[in-house]
């Protein structure tokens, strides 16, 4: 900023000096000895402004002037050589910073920024000597005209529509040589350039037409990349300096002196000087005043902005300070209201702050007892086991070494009175600019927690012991159970054996049953056939030959027939007994009273029913086989009827009683009865206690009753006295 101020100041001074014609003005020296490096783009073949010398170094009026300007403006300079068309593009893109000579036109001002003009060139028309048919610009219309491509005069030719046949060359030399060779009718170029080339190439046959045909003058400036204001300002400043200190004149003389001298009169020179310098000075002054005004405005704006910024900054600082104070108060409150002890130490381990809780827990009365003291020596001097700390052993200081927070819950801190307490603490480093400048320690007394933890541990131990005991007991029980299970397994094996044996027995039984079936079948067929024959043929004998037999003979035949019939009955009963033993049982709940009553009605003849008193108590239902139990009633009621036939008392009583596990039923009569000493023989097959002529019978009826009741899991028995009637009992299981 200061640098620029100085520059502007100096430019202003220079301009004033130029205006009053004083060439002896002092040039203020800039502070910075080395300025920024400028990359200048220059052409190789635009003499006398830009070209190369014999050593290949860039040279020419504009190059030299630019070098002088750069030197005056304290700019380092590098030069890049390239063709004009390429350089224009480089400048537009900022690949080069400046070009030394560019004609200023409104079109170009859009793409580049221009310094003040340092040269005015008049455009001229060059023709071969002897050309005399060009008097006005219109005469050029049908002429073949050459211009250098990219030259301002190319643009001019286009703007003015000088000719219908305008061709371009890449260099001026080429254009003039082609003109000399008759390949074109005219060349449009700046006057000085044309003269210079004619002179250099010795083209005697080329002449310049009257300068009044084209009045166009071009102002030439240094061009910089659009927007590079700093460089533009520096170059303008430099230009002002070289113009003021005569360097410009020297360089001008060096490059243009001879040519102009030869071609121009003194008056022309004066005219040119007037043409050139007076307007130049005026333009320079004008521009610089505008520039200065603009700069002053800009500065003022900048200064105002800065003042505003400072004001804001100051206000922000004020606000921040208030906030800081408030936050400090908050932190202070926070620190002193927490139950945890908090203190900070600096790099040396000395206390920088300590909160109220810490003081209380540690047993200090005042901060002054702690602040600035070495906290390790004050409260952490001895290990829990009573031994002193070695160097670098302090856990709290570890945060210094590692730069990271650490935690410890198995340590002790020491109170002011020399006692200790178990403590848990966190130690966090305070970091400023990647450097640990202190440590904040947060701690609390964990005596209670320790106690609780120890109590928990004790409980856990007890629990473990108990668990172990219980486990042992359980294992013992499991062992016993295993034993029992083993025993059970043996039992099951035994049971399986028994079952297998039983199955075998059952199979055998089934076989015997089948044999019995076969036997029964055989008996029923084979035994009966002879009986039928005996009986049948006795019958035929009696019927066919009865008249030839006396009474005794007939009686014998009756005896034969009666015995045959009796034997048939015996066989029938025996088969019945066998069938009852083998019949499949179908257990249902049976109303025994109803069955008994029905049987009495069926079995007793009408005569018996009229003579007999039939007394029956209500009987319970029982779970049994209906067909078989019906047979029991048939046999018992038939017996009662049969054996009461000859008695005075004709009465049958039926009743029951419930005992613990069974229901007992009875049939009581008042008939013949029997001698109780034979009661065991009653239920045997074919066993009879009465003669057949007293009471008919086969001795199978009671055997059948016993067989049926036994199959139901019940019992049968009888009570009687001879001639006093008998009571027959049978029992059935409950449910």
């Amino acid at each position: 900023m200061k640098y620029n101020q100085l520059n502007y100041f100096s430019v202003l001074v220079c301009l004033l000096l130029v205006t009053i014609g004083n060439t002896q003005a002092d040039i203020p020296v800039v502070d910075d000895p080395v300025g920024p490096v400028i990359l200048l783009g220059s052409e190789a073949d635009y003499p006398p402004y830009c070209s190369l010398d014999e050593a290949g170094q860039p040279t020419g009026f504009s190059v030299e002037l630019f070098a002088a300007v750069a030197d005056a403006a304290n700019l380092e300079l590098e030069i890049k050589i390239g063709p004009w068309l390429a350089l224009k593009e480089y400048l537009a893109k900022g690949i080069v910073d400046a070009l030394p000579i560019v004609a200023k036109t409104p079109e170009r001002e859009i793409r580049y920024d221009f310094t003040i003009p340092y040269l005015q060139l008049q455009t001229a028309i060059f023709v071969r000597k002897g050309t005399n048919d060009i008097h006005t610009l219109d005469d050029l219309k049908e002429k073949e005209i050459l211009v250098m491509k990219g030259d301002i005069n190319e643009e001019l030719a286009m703007q003015l529509e000088l000719s219908n046949f305008v061709s371009t060359t890449t260099t001026f030399d080429e254009a003039f040589l082609k003109l000399a060779a008759g390949e074109a009718d005219a060349v449009i170029a700046h006057r000085i350039i044309g003269l210079q080339i004619i002179d250099r190439l010795g083209l005697k046959g080329i002449a310049m037409l009257d300068g009044k045909l084209i009045q166009t003058r071009h102002e030439f400036c240094f061009a910089v990349t659009k927007g590079n204001d700093a460089l533009l300002a520096s170059l303008n400043e430099g230009l002002a300096i070289v113009m003021a200190d005569g360097t410009y004149s020297e360089i001008y003389k060096k490059w243009f002196g001879p040519v102009i001298k030869e071609e121009l009169s003194r008056a022309d020179i004066l005219r040119i000087a007037l043409w050139l310098f007076l307007p130049l000075g005026a333009i320079l002054s004008f521009f610089w005043i505008i520039a200065l005004r603009r700069e002053v405005k800009r500065r003022t704006r900048h200064l105002n902005e800065e003042i505003e910024e400072h004001k804001q900054t100051w206000e922000e600082l004020q606000t921040q300070q208030v906030q800081l104070k408030r936050r400090e108060a908050q932190i202070h409150l926070l620190l002193n209201s927490t139950a945890e002890g908090i203190y900070g130490i600096d790099r040396e381990g000395n206390c920088t702050f300590i909160n109220k809780s810490a003081l209380e827990v540690l047993g200090f009365e005042d901060r002054s007892q702690v602040i600035g003291k070495n906290m390790h020596q004050l409260i952490h001097h001895t290990k829990p086991d009573g031994s002193p700390y070695g160097a670098g052993e302090c856990e709290i200081h570890r945060a210094f070494r590692t730069g990271e927070g650490m935690h410890n819950d198995d340590d002790v801190l020491w109170r002011a009175d020399g006692t200790s307490f178990p403590a848990e603490y966190y130690s966090y480093p305070i970091r400023e600019n990647d450097e640990t400048t202190g440590v904040v320690v947060t701690f609390w007394n964990i005596t209670e927690q320790k106690k609780a933890k120890e109590e928990l541990l004790r409980l856990k131990r007890n629990l473990e012991i108990e668990v172990a005991q219980r486990t042992a007991e359980l294992e013992e029980k499991v062992r016993k159970l295993d034993k029992s299970q083993q025993a059970m397994l043996y039992m099951v094996e035994d049971l399986n054996e028994v079952t297998a044996k039983m199955k075998e027995e059952r199979r055998k039984l089934e076989l015997s049953n089948q044999e019995l079936d076969a036997f029964t079948y055989s008996v029923s067929h084979d035994l009966r056939a002879p009986l039928r024959a005996i009986n049948g043929y006795s019958d035929f004998l009696l019927k066919d030959y009865g008249d030839k037999l006396d009474e005794e003979g007939k009686r014998f035949l009756d005896v034969i027939r009666n015995n045959a019939t009796k034997m048939d009955r015996l066989i029938t009963d025996m088969l019945n007994l066998s069938r009852i033993s083998r019949a499949e049982m179908r257990m249902t709940t049976v109303d025994l009273g109803r069955v008994a009553e029905t049987i009495f009605r069926e079995v007793a003849t009408e005569e018996e029913q009229s003579h007999f008193e039939f007394e029956m108590e209500p009987l319970p239902a029982a779970f049994c086989d209906y067909a078989l139990i019906k047979q029991v009633w048939i046999n018992l009621i038939s017996n009662a009827l049969k054996y009461s036939g000859k008695s005075a008392v004709k009465k049958i009583q039926i009743g029951s009683r419930a005992e613990e596990n069974e229901l007992v039923f009875f049939v009581k009569d008042f008939g013949a009865g029997f001698n109780p000493k034979y009661k065991d023989k009653l239920f045997g097959v074919f066993q009879r206690l009465h003669r057949d002529d007293e009471f008919k019978g086969t001795g199978v009826g009671l055997a059948i009753v016993q067989r049926i009741i036994h199959r139901h899991g019940g019992r049968v028995w009888a009570e009687a006295e001879l001639d006093q009637g008998a009571t027959f009992y049978f029992s059935l299981l409950k449910n």
Binding site: H525, R528, A533, Y537
Partner: protein, 147 residues
């Protein structure tokens, strides 16, 4: 063999005495139709189906009733019954089973095979005569009606 075409009652009975008694019982019931007694199951089937020893007998002539003993040599009474009752032509012949007992399995089997009735041969001959009478289809044999 001409008389065989006139057989109206076929008695299948291996015991000659039982056969004789059966004939007598029929006679006492005034059933004097032509009766043939055969002594085993094979013979009975040969007669019914006109084959073997009875091959010359006209097939169209059939007994009006068959009294069939259950227990027979060679071919059992149940087998004879089955063969007669499974043939569509012969199954219409009424078959009365003669048996010594009420052995359930035999009777159940007989009814399954399509027996028409049965008589338990009683020891008392008079009861046999009664049983024949009570069968209830002797009218068939009396009035000579074709089935």
């Amino acid at each position: 063999m001409e008389h065989l075409t006139e057989v109206e009652i076929l008695i299948v009975e291996d015991n000659p005495h039982d056969a004789e008694m059966a004939l007598r019982a029929l006679k006492e019931n005034k059933l004097t139709n032509k009766v043939l007694v055969v002594h085993d199951g094979e013979e009975a089937l040969d007669f019914v189906f006109a084959r073997g020893a009875f091959a010359d007998r006209p097939k169209t002539s059939r007994p009006k009733i068959i009294l069939l003993d259950l227990k027979l040599p060679k071919v059992d009474g149940l087998e004879v019954l089955e063969e007669i009752k499974s043939n569509p032509v012969t199954k219409v012949i009424p078959v009365i089973m003669l048996t010594s007992s009420k052995e359930e399995s035999d009777l159940v089997k007989s009814y399954e095979l399509g027996v028409n009735s049965y008589i338990v041969k009683p020891v008392d001959f008079d009861k046999f005569v009664d049983a024949i009478r009570e069968l209830g289809f002797y009218w068939l044999l009396l009035n000579q009606q074709k089935i």
